[in-house]
């Protein structure tokens, strides 16, 4: 068990890479590579769950080439990785299973595996530059998958995504160079020891560049302009993977940077006293003084406002969901910026819940729209396969997005509101609560439009439909089960947050 456990981080990255020549070989032999790809992907998702088995060590460190972190690269399977590996694996699997066989031609499955390898690498690596390399693998595969339909819209949104993503990469590279210049190391686990506890201007600027690069990849306002185009131009199953799995991997790197670089998070904002305007000016000066957490709080507030208000005006479901993602990552980043253990736990919990809810809603589109192109909210219906079930599951998922009780989104959002308020960022708390109200308006509109209208044309059922249906139901089922398992999940999230804050800083 221990020998295997020590190798698991490497296997989680190397086996998806090995899948690329494997699929090529199967194609050459003339067999259908699709089923093999799905089987292999399912195995990888299962492998991502292995660290949860009893008896698995709490932290596994795999030194690549036998070199320790200061001269080589280390993979580290810690609590944070343990939490997010299954999320990435399962949602990636759902997206791959749900792929339309007409669209999933050519290098689709190899690219899915590269996406998985990149995401797993991002989650596992303990080295900033190695994270950059995996970020590029992940990004390049997602650029390609966004343009995969080879139509004008796909190409244009793909190109926009590439331009913004490359700019983010350049910023990230500058930040990496800066952090190496001030600390002399690239390993996350060594930044704290290599930098003074009160970092100088150069260290903060380098960390800000890295953080801004990652926020751009996450799609936080004002760096979110690419997100709606990319998610609307991509094939639906790919959009589910990108909005759920890939983003989670970027988020893990962001958390690793913030918890290991001095001046990141881990100290709360001080609550201000006095009258409203006094408090407001105190907040403004404190944001400046608070450095990176202050910047994160400001950006998260901007994301919540911009995301929800733009989502309100959308007529197409995929764009609505993309802007809603912007707002929800605003919530998550607010929790991260506050930086206390419960707030961070709330952020992790919401990131996991949001990944499943958003993936589920993206999978709703192929069930509800006539064709891939037409996802206008007013033209959606509840689908060919079991309309009542699809309709109620969709309503359940939207309840999760808004944060209404018997759905999973409620608990995590509640924790975020309470903890941001308690830790001295009441504006963020108010915005999160207000955002829920705005979200209620547009999700209600979606539900009213989609439910109660059955398809007039003759029902057409294809095997692909059944697979999308199954993947969609898995997401909805997660949202249902997770609500009743809130205590368990919150406990896990709190222990992850404790180790993340304690181990890094």
């Amino acid at each position: 068990m221990t020998v295997f456990a020590g190798h698991l981080p490497v296997f989680l990255i190397a086996l998806p890479l090995l899948a690329v020549p494997l699929l090529y070989l199967i194609d050459r032999l003339g067999a259908n590579s699709r089923n093999v790809a799905l089987l292999f992907y399912a195995l990888m998702a299962l492998a991502a769950g292995v660290p949860w088995l009893p008896g698995f060590p709490a932290e596994v460190v795999a030194e690549i080439g036998g070199w320790p972190a200061d001269i080589g690269i280390e993979l580290r399977l810690d609590a944070l990785a343990r939490l997010f590996l299954p999320v990435v694996g399962v949602i990636g699997l759902l997206g791959t299973v749900a792929a339309d066989p007409g669209e999933a031609t050519g290098p689709f499955y190899p690219l899915s595996f590269l996406l998985l390898a990149g995401s797993n690498g991002l989650i596992l690596t303990n080295d900033l530059f190695n994270a950059y390399v995996f970020l590029e693998i992940t990004s390049i595969s997602s650029y390609a998958l966004v343009g995969f339909r080879r139509d004008t819209r796909g190409f244009e949104s793909g190109f926009k995504y590439i331009v913004v993503g490359s700019l983010a990469s350049v910023l990230l590279l500058w930040g990496i160079a800066g952090l190496y210049a001030v600390s002399g190391t690239l390993a996350f686990s060594r930044f704290a020891a290599a930098l003074p506890a009160v970092p100088g201007r150069a260290a903060v600027a380098a960390a800000v560049l890295v953080v801004v690069g990652l926020l751009t990849k996450l799609g936080i306002a004002p760096f979110h302009a690419w997100k709606a185009d990319a998610l609307a131009g991509a094939p639906r199953s790919v959009a589910a993977t990108l909005a759920g799995a890939t983003v989670s991997a970027y988020f893990v790197v962001l958390v690793r940077v913030l918890t290991t670089v001095p001046g990141g998070i881990g100290f709360g904002l001080r609550p201000a006293t006095g009258g409203f305007f006094m408090r407001l000016s105190a907040y403004v000066s404190e944001f400046v003084a608070a450095g990176i957490p202050g910047m994160l709080i400001l950006l998260s507030g901007a994301s919540i406002i911009v995301g929800h208000l733009t989502a309100l005006r959308q007529t197409r479901l995929s764009r609505l969901l993309a802007y809603s993602s912007v707002a929800h990552f605003g919530y998550i980043i607010a929790g991260v910026a506050v930086g206390t253990v419960p707030a961070l736990a709330g952020a992790f919990l919401h990131a996991v819940h949001h990944a499943f809810m958003k993936a589920g809603l993206f999978l709703f589109i192929p069930l509800a729209a006539d064709s891939a192109e037409r996802d206008r909210i007013t033209s959606l219906t509840c689908g060919r396969t079991a309309p009542a079930l699809v309709g109620s599951a969709m309503i359940f998922l939207t309840m999760g997005m808004v944060g209404i009780p018997p759905a999973a989104g409620f608990a995590s959002k509640w924790i975020l509101v309470l903890e941001t308020a308690r830790a001295g960022a009441p504006f963020a708390a108010i915005l999160i609560a207000l955002g829920g109200a705005i979200a209620l308006v547009y999700y209600l509109r979606l539900s009213l439009a989609a439910v109660g209208r059955t398809r007039s044309s003759s029902p057409r059922r294809s095997p692909a439909d059944v697979r999308v249906f199954a993947a969609f139901l898995v997401c909805a089922g997660y949202v249902f089960v997770a609500f009743w398992a809130t205590d368990l999940l919150a406990g896990i999230a709190i222990s992850v947050a404790e180790t993340t804050l304690g181990g890094g800083g």
Binding site: V3, G6, H7, V10, A14, L17, L18, V20, P21, Y24, L25, R28, A62, E63, I64, G65, G66, W67, D70, I71, G72, I73, G106, P107, P110, L111, L114, A117, G121, F129, N130, V133, F134, E136, I137, I140, S141, Y143, A144, G147, R150, G178, Y180, A181, V182, S183, G184, T185, A194, P196, G200, R201, A202, A203, V204, A205, A206
Partner: protein, 230 residues
């Protein structure tokens, strides 16, 4: 965007960056980073310390980097239309044709040399691979002018080499894992490091040099030829 606005934004950003960089910690305050060059000869047997970092200390980065090339080649080949298109409409003169034929072996040998001597002298797998791909592309461009397509290696062969190289890279990694317990291990596997400076030294580094060179060269050849076919 208006030019003045752009200039203003850029000025503000650069002033901020300069302000930040003006406070770089001095040599005394900062922990001196590890200098791999001090230990690389003993650890890996490679004279070229950059090669030692690329293919031993941080070989995982290199695996990722080669994967990036493979991904790009896959995508660009997929984006290029499947229908046959002419590469260049002009026909090359005889002088060009014979000149290229004379030149090609030299370019190929040069690329191979850069690749094989990567652990001894500057250069290495990536550079050598690019030079090799240049020769393949030169051949394809010159001899495909005027409509007829001809390649040194057919696109299908290119693809096969790429996948074989990918498997080989991972196989070297798993060999290290089996022999010493660490993925991509080199000296720890018990492989002899040889005499520093000779061709067969530095353990797995020359092997990885050749593998990544093939991968990069073939990948870039696929990319350029696909761009031509667009």
């Amino acid at each position: 965007m208006k030019r003045t606005t752009a200039a203003l934004i850029v000025t503000v950003l650069v002033v901020l960056a300069g302000f930040a960089a003006s406070e770089l910690p001095s040599e005394a305050e900062r922990a001196e980073p590890v200098n791999h060059a001090i230990r690389s000869l003993a650890d890996t047997g490679a004279v070229n310390a950059v090669s030692a970092v690329l293919f031993d200390y941080r070989a995982f980065d290199t695996l990722g980097e080669a994967t990036v090339i493979i991904t790009t080649a896959m995508i660009v080949a997929f984006l290029a239309p499947q229908a046959r298109a002419s590469m260049l409409s002009v026909r090359m003169s005889g002088i060009v044709l014979y000149g290229v034929v004379l030149l090609l072996p030299f370019i190929a040998v040069f690329g191979l040399a850069i690749m094989l001597y990567g652990h001894i002298s500057p250069g290495g797998g990536f550079t050598g691979g690019v030079v090799l791909s240049t020769s393949a592309v030169l051949y394809a461009v010159v001899y495909s002018a005027g409509g007829q397509q001809s390649y040194v290696l057919a696109p299908a062969t290119n693809k096969m080499i790429e996948n074989v190289a990918m498997t080989a890279f991972l196989a070297v990694g798993f060999f290290g894992m089996a022999a010493s317990g660490a993925f991509l291990a080199n000296a720890a596997t018990g492989i002899g490091l040889g005499t520093p400076g000779s061709l067969l030294s530095a353990g797995t580094i020359p092997l990885l040099n050749v593998i990544s060179g093939l991968k990069v060269g073939v990948g870039l050849a696929i990319i350029i030829i696909s761009l031509f076919l667009e």
